[in-house]
């Protein structure tokens, strides 16, 4: 966490697969204690960008720096120690307990042939504690609610002791209450100094938690900046190929609220 430089920096990145360029010219930075939210329609290249930033696929051109270090030669373990990845909550798994799931986050911190030690269990317990789900430790992961599963996966990522969290639609398929609970925990992690990159399909969530928002369309990153400046009705309309009035009508609370806020600030 005390590494110099940006927690995450992408420089003129080209992403994609051999023979298929998905996006290019992508540059972004993320600092400790900051939430950057990526908005983009389906097929805009969000998943490919995430895979590239996580080192799961190589960048076609450009560079990903983590903590100021170029990552081209990083091993899987080095990535896992610096970046915690939180996938969308899923169910298709064997009935591991929540503690066992969280302990899997220790993988990059323990020897290749070792099993988790008492200290690893302490770390796992602390991660569960910090997310307010210590009571779920003995429960079976496949039997808890979707919101609890999402929090358990965040706890697993925290058990990696990363400086950066990358979250893939953390509020997808959650009910209203769980969405708000998960978002509150994400903000809490930010306040504790974690750098957080997430994507969502819900602009109101982005505005609720993000410090900065970046818009990704057709593999190009546009309008990366302070949340309120980027997520305007006009730009969201551009992003999702909608009419600005439709956006305003669909998210009335969002823009009414903002008008009041801007008015308040100018007074």
């Amino acid at each position: 966490m005390n590494a110099p430089g940006h927690v995450l920096e992408a420089r003129d990145l080209s992403i994609g697969y051999p023979g298929r360029l998905v996006g290019s010219g992508i540059s972004l930075q993320l600092e400790a204690g900051e939430i950057l939210c990526l908005l983009g329609p389906n097929g805009s290249g969000k998943s490919t960008l995430f895979r590239t930033l996580l080192g799961l696929i190589p960048a076609l051109a450009g560079e990903v720096r983590l903590g100021g270090q170029p990552t081209r030669r990083w091993s899987r373990v080095q990535f896992a120690r610096y970046v915690g990845y939180v996938p969308q909550g899923h169910v298709s798994m064997f009935p591991f307990t929540v503690e066992e799931v969280v302990l899997m986050g220790r993988s990059a911190r323990i020897g290749r042939f070792a099993t988790p030690s008492a200290r690893d269990r302490q770390v796992a317990a602390a991660c569960l504690e910090s997310l307010g789900i210590a009571h779920l430790r003995e429960r079976v992961y496949t039997e808890i609610s979707g919101g609890e599963r999402q929090l358990a996966l965040i706890a697993r990522a925290l058990a990696q002791e990363p400086a950066l969290l990358v979250m893939d639609e953390p509020t997808a398929s959650l009910d209203f209450g769980n969405q708000l609970r998960v978002l509150a925990r994400i903000q809490q992690l930010r306040d504790q100094g974690m750098g957080i990159l997430l994507c969502t399909h819900q602009p109101e969530h982005a505005l609720q938690v993000a410090d900065r928002i970046a818009l990704l369309k057709n593999g190009e990153l546009r309008h990366c900046g302070p949340a309120l400046e980027v997520a305007t009705a006009e730009r969201l309309a551009w992003l999702y190929d909608l009419d600005p009035d439709v956006v305003r009508a669909s998210l009335p609370g969002l823009f009414d609220h903002r008008r009041r806020k801007i008015k308040h600030e100018t007074e």
Binding site: R76, F79, A80, P87, F94, P95, F96, T97, E100, M104
Partner: protein, 349 residues
């Protein structure tokens, strides 16, 4: 109402029987199975004979009749050791396969290891090769079969990968079965065909201590990566992307474990013939008892698999006037259980 709560209890996975006392229980089961196997059979031997023979070995009693000693230690013991070894190997391999293919319904049989090993061994018998070559061919056949299934599933990315794995395994198994049938027709009906038929039905009656001396090191070699990776293998039950993001070299780890599980299956099967279903059913029961964590699942599968095959084999040689093929008995238990799992899995999904 009662039924529903029973189902709920059985689904709460690790909580079912996961006390530390499960281990003495499993060991006791193994010892009881061993004692039954030593005492059961056409030649009548009572518990007092067994006790006396054991004490005589320690110089504490006069030995029983020589025939008793011979039956106990030269006929029944090798076969018991074989059952323990093969049962443990098949169950451990099945547990590893299920974890790394993220599917509790996968087994060495379904991925074509057994069929591949079968074709290799039948080819070896057909070519009248020495035993070591037959075993080598069986191993190679098993490895090639599971490698092919895995490669096919890797190429087909549009469908559910688990479905593709199972379907590819079934298709390849049928193809290999056709090869076996062809060789059976071509084989000499008086010398080779009985050997082949007997081999394909599976059984422990022909196994000797020398055979065990060959098989045991190979099986232990296959067991070694599983023991060393007993915790890390759990990560393979996540999606590849997730486990890679957690720092695992997914491809390398899975390949090592596939080779290990295939080595265990193929070296067991090459001596005993095809004994199906152990690798599917036992890990599942073990998972219900101790949960999915592999460092508990592996020893539980080893112990349960050994006990199960020993009891089944004892049944096979005592229940009728002729010896029943072991593979037939394990199928009689395994196939209905598989159908039960399918029905139950459909409900939980």
């Amino acid at each position: 109402m009662v039924e529903r709560s029973a189902v709920a209890a059985s689904r709460s996975g690790p909580a079912l029987l996961a006390g530390p006392w499960i281990w003495p229980l499993l060991l006791a089961l193994l010892l009881i199975a061993g004692a039954i196997a030593l005492l059961a059979g056409k030649f009548p031997i009572g518990p007092q004979d067994l006790l006396r023979s054991l004490l005589a070995r320690l110089g504490l009693a006069t030995p029983p009749a020589p025939a008793v000693d011979t039956v106990l230690w030269q006929l029944r013991l090798p076969r018991i050791l074989a059952a323990l070894l093969v049962g443990a190997a098949l169950a451990a391999a099945g547990a590893a396969y299920q974890n790394m293919f993220r599917n509790p319904l996968v087994s060495p049989d379904i991925l074509g290891v057994s069929a591949g090993a079968g074709l290799g061994a039948v080819l070896g018998i057909f070519l009248a090769l020495p035993m070591a070559m037959v075993q080598g061919l069986a191993f190679a056949g098993g490895l090639v079969a599971v490698g092919a299934v895995y490669a096919i599933a890797g190429m087909v990315r549009r469908h559910d990968p688990v479905l593709v794995l199972v379907l590819a395994g079934v298709a390849l198994g049928t193809l290999l079965g056709a090869g076996i049938s062809l060789l059976k027709i071509l084989a000499d009906p008086y010398t080779q065909l009985p050997t082949i038929t007997f081999w394909l039905l599976g059984g422990l009656n022909a196994i000797t201590l020398t055979d065990l001396g060959y098989a045991a090191p190979l099986i232990l070699l296959g067991l070694l990566p599983m023991v060393l990776l007993r915790w890390r293998i759990n990560l393979l039950s996540l999606s590849d992307e997730e486990s890679a993001a957690l720092g695992l070299h997914v491809g390398r780890t899975r390949l090592l474990l596939i080779v290990a599980a295939t080595l265990m299956t193929a070296s067991a099967v090459s001596f005993t013939g095809i004994i199906g279903w152990v690798g599917l059913v036992i890990p599942h029961v073990a998972r219900l008892l101790v949960g999915p964590g592999f460092s508990r699942l592996l020893p539980a599968s080893l112990l349960l698999g050994a006990s199960f095959l020993l009891l089944t084999d004892t049944l096979a040689r005592t229940v009728a006037s002729i010896e029943l093929p072991l593979g037939v008995l394990t199928a009689l238990v395994g196939a209905p259980f598989f159908l039960y799992l399918l029905a139950r899995g459909g409900k939980t999904a």
